[in-house]
């Protein structure tokens, strides 16, 4: 061992450049810290901008709803409701006829004979629909009047807004030059109000006609059809009994009644209709979109959860090492498939296949098959399931793998087999982890845009749940889909534009909630396994 060499002064004990170095050091730290804050800032900005663009919706929608009342559109819609109900009864009649024809065709009755047999019924149906003729013409007459008034009021409001804007900008002279035409609302509304009297006479007339028609209602040959027909009759009687109520509504209706501010919110959150760019009245109700999103997500999860969780169990507990090394990266690989490609695949292949399957002989026993739309909830759900499986798989597999070895060993040491160990020890221990995986899968599915935009059918309607499971083969529109589809076409600052931002805000809130729940569960999972 050699002796210790003499140290020499190599480094000055405290160089002056150290001080600048310290400043630089702090600058760097501040720089990194600032970058770390970006995430917070972005989240805040997202919230702010969704609110900023979306919040004006309530004021505009309230004005929209007020105009609906002031121009008497609401009044006309009361009568329109009655007339629509009549139409739907008419449709019911032709449905009954269709069923009758089908049963007779099955019995190989020739077409001429069917027609002959149903002639009295056809006669009845056409007289039934004739009874509403005056009602329909009343509605179209009033519609014209009301929409003319609405247009005038709308133009007036626009001009007023323009003038006040100019005034605020200080251009008094120009503001004065804008002529705002007076709208004679009272006269127009008075002429609308005359509709009430007409309605009363029309409805009395219709009631009388219908009762006499009932007396002459022809019997139907098929007992099942006859039963339907009887049901129809009861419904029609109820309809007739409700006619005076509408008349009462008309009489008490006033164009001046105040619309409370919360109606703007409730008509958005609970509104069952999303109708935009209509000549009559725009409705911004989120329910059809929300229901669409939820239905698609449920279908996707129902498919994806069993697949994802069982493959997670398979890979973490059962598969051989070679399988594991192949399957895990492959499933991760699936998660990288771009959603637009999946959507395209849905249009090009899956939709067609689903419809073909529904037409096949094999599924003849299913009551709601064959389906008419190839793009529907089920098609979109299947594809979304494929997107959710990797998320659910990866996180569940993680949770299963993180269960401490001791748990497993203890179970085996007691003589449990692998299935018992999985079912009684591993899955319960990792349950909150698995549930949070499912929630994150749900978050991914509900926020997914391209697949639903391309494959969910884009019909803005609440599916007809009376069909039972058949409802999942109907087309819907979703919250993500509507934003993607309509955002590019709306006028900036319009009610429609703001409504889309509000939909975005609802979507954002929902996903935040799901995320929050998932994180809560993950924390609990970590705590439970120590």
């Amino acid at each position: 061992m050699e002796g210790v060499a003499d140290p020499r002064i190599l480094i000055p004990a405290r160089s002056t450049s150290r001080r600048t170095q310290v400043v630089v050091e702090q600058g760097i730290k501040a720089f990194f810290g600032g970058n770390a804050l970006v995430a917070v800032v972005v989240l805040a900005l997202i919230t702010i901008f969704l609110f900023r663009e979306g919040f004006g919706f309530f004021g505009q929608n309230l004005a929209n709803l007020r105009l609906y009342r002031q121009a008497g559109l609401e009044y006309v819609d009361i009568i329109r409701g009655v007339s629509m109900e009549h139409e739907s009864l008419s449709r019911k009649l032709s449905e009954i006829r269709l069923r009758e024809v089908r049963t007779m065709e099955k019995r190989n009755v020739p077409l001429e004979e069917i027609n002959a047999k149903l002639a009295p019924f056809d006669q009845f149906a056409s007289s039934f629909s004739d009874t509403a003729e005056t009602l329909h013409s009343l509605v179209s007459d009033l519609t014209e009047k009301a929409s003319a008034l609405k247009e005038k009021l709308f133009a007036q409001a626009e001009l007023l807004a323009q003038r006040s804007q100019l005034e605020r900008a200080g251009a008094q002279a120009e503001a004065a030059r804008i002529v705002v035409p007076e709208v004679d609302r009272t006269a127009a509304l008075a002429s609308l109000h005359q509709g009430a009297a007409t309605y009363e006479s029309v409805s009395a007339d219709m009631t009388a006609k219908l009762y006499s028609l009932f007396a002459a209602a022809p019997p139907l040959p098929d007992p099942a059809a006859q039963k339907n027909f009887e049901q129809w009759k009861t419904r029609t009687r109820e309809y007739l009994a409700a006619l005076p109520a509408a008349s009462e509504k008309l009489r008490t209706w006033s164009s001046e009644a105040e619309i409370p501010w919360y109606r703007s919110l409730s008509s958005f959150l609970f509104g069952r209709e999303w109708i935009t760019a209509s000549f009559w009245q725009d409705w911004y109700g989120i329910i059809p979109l929300l229901v669409g999103s939820i239905m698609v997500s449920i279908v996707a999860l129902v498919i994806a959860v069993p697949l994802g969780v069982s493959s997670a169990i398979y890979v973490s507990e059962i598969a051989s090492r070679h399988e594991k090394r192949l399957i895990k990266p492959y499933i991760e690989f699936i998660s990288a498939i771009p959603s637009v490609v999946l959507g395209f695949f849905g249009i090009a292949v899956v939709g067609q296949a689903v419809r073909a399957a529904s037409q096949s002989h094999f599924f003849k026993w299913v009551s709601f098959f064959p389906i008419s739309e190839r793009l529907n909830i089920f098609t979109a759900g299947c594809l979304l399931a494929l997107m959710a499986v990797p998320t659910i798989f990866t996180l569940s597999e993680d949770a299963l793998r993180n269960v401490p070895r001791g748990f497993k060993e203890a179970s085996y040491a007691l003589g449990a087999n692998r299935l018992q160990t999985i079912g009684r020890v591993l899955v319960p221990a990792s349950l909150s982890g698995i549930v949070s995986a499912i929630l994150l899968g749900l978050g991914r599915v509900i926020g997914e845009t391209m697949v639903v935009l391309l494959c969910a059918g884009n019909r803005i309607a609440i599916p007809d749940f009376t069909q039972g499971l058949g409802a999942i083969f109907q087309p819907v529109h979703t919250m993500t889909g509507i934003i993607a589809q309509e955002m590019g076409e709306v006028v900036r600052g319009s009610t429609h534009y703001r409504a889309l931002f509000m939909v975005g805000l609802v979507l954002f809130t929902i996903t935040l909630g799901i995320n929050y729940l998932a994180q809560k569960l993950v924390t609990r999972f970590r705590m439970s396994i120590g």
Partner: protein
């Protein structure tokens, strides 16, 4: 287990040891185990089969567009030409399908002939501008995301102490990761396109996409940074290295491979997203290439065509028929191929580094 044994004993009146050693019970257990394991296996392979079917379907049908039977075996015009409108018409008993340019030439060579041509948008030509646009979007947004993301991760793993602020940052990152891409699109539209007045532009797309992958990059980078053993930091600090010197010389170099590997998966995500760029950066059709601009600054403030948006347009805005399948499947194939190549690189690199890295 014990609990169950006791219950059985009560019902059957046998001794627990008799039940514990009953061969019939064990056999039934084994059968159930086997059946269920097969079900699990089936579910797993079903998922793999579905994905494989998608790859094969798009691979085979798209391959018909992208590859040719003659040398150079790749359909060069499809990859290098802009999209054009396709004209289909009957002429002298033969069906003619011509692209926009060819159709105009054809009209010149056949003067006086009037044909009734049906036109199908986007179905002729290629997808070159879309590939370029996507590449531009990906590169820009990844530079942005890596810059901010790695810096954030350095702060979180090296500088921060657990305080209220850091908890807030972590919560924000977690929640940002769950925000739907369409909401990012709305946000980018509201902030960059309207509020900043950047219009539909590359730079608005960069920021939107960059901020969208940020959480993934931060999480991955922090993980890599934390994997560097504490001893290396302490050793360096104890020698009088400053914090930044320690990070730059003794932490980042060892964390960088991991950071980059994980970020590649972020690239795949950026490239694959459509919703955020729909109203921030993408045009359905644009005649000039991105570099054909008057001034340098115009480069950043121009919208581009992008492959995913192009696929959306050709699969939803034009009908599905024999003439459109070419461009639909071709674009989907090229896009899927590119994204999957990136994802594959990332996964392979990670698997390899996992087996190699050991501190």
């Amino acid at each position: 287990m014990e609990d169950r044994g006791l219950r059985i004993e009560e019902h059957r009146g046998g001794s627990p040891s008799a039940i514990l050693h009953s061969p019939s019970l064990r056999r039934r257990g084994r059968l159930l185990e086997k059946t269920l394991f097969w079900l699990f296996r089936l579910a797993t392979y079903f998922v793999l089969a579905c994905a494989t079917y998608i790859f094969l379907d798009i691979g085979i049908k798209g391959g018909r567009t992208v590859f040719t039977s003659k040398a150079p075996f790749i359909n060069v015009p499809f990859l290098t030409e802009p999209p054009q409108t396709l004209y289909v018409f009957d002429f002298e008993g033969k069906k003619q399908t011509l692209s926009d340019r060819q159709f105009r030439e054809w009209k010149v060579t056949h003067p006086g002939v009037s044909v009734e041509a049906s036109s199908i948008a986007y179905s002729a030509g290629g997808i070159w501008p879309c590939i370029v646009g996507t590449a531009l979007l990906v590169v820009g947004s990844m530079i942005l995301a890596l810059g901010i993301g790695v810096s954030s991760a350095i702060y979180l793993s090296e500088y921060s102490r657990n305080g209220r602020w850091i908890r807030l940052v972590r919560i924000a990152i977690l929640n940002l990761a769950g925000v739907p891409s369409i909401v990012f699109g709305l946000f980018g539209f509201g902030l960059f396109v309207i509020f900043f007045g950047w219009n539909v532009s590359l730079i608005a797309g960069w920021f939107t996409l960059g901020l969208m992958v940020l959480p993934a990059i931060i999480t991955a980078s922090e993980e890599s940074l934390r994997a560097v053993p504490q001893g290396l930091r302490e050793g360096s600090l104890a020698l009088g290295a400053s914090k930044w010197q320690t990070i730059r010389k003794n932490v980042l170099p060892y964390a960088m491979p991991g950071i980059l590997t994980s970020s590649i998966l972020g690239i795949a995500r950026v490239a694959g997203e459509t919703a955020p760029i729909m109203f921030t950066a993408a045009y359905a059709m644009k005649d000039e290439m991105p570099w054909q601009v008057q001034r340098m600054t115009d480069f950043f403030f121009q919208g581009v065509m992008a492959l995913p948006y192009h696929i959306y347009v050709v699969s939803s805005k034009i009908p599905q028929n024999e003439y459109t399948a070419r461009v639909q499947y071709g674009s989907a194939f090229v896009f899927l191929f590119l994204v999957m190549l990136i994802a594959l690189t990332s996964i392979v690199l990670r698997e390899r580094s996992r087996s190699r890295l050991s501190w």
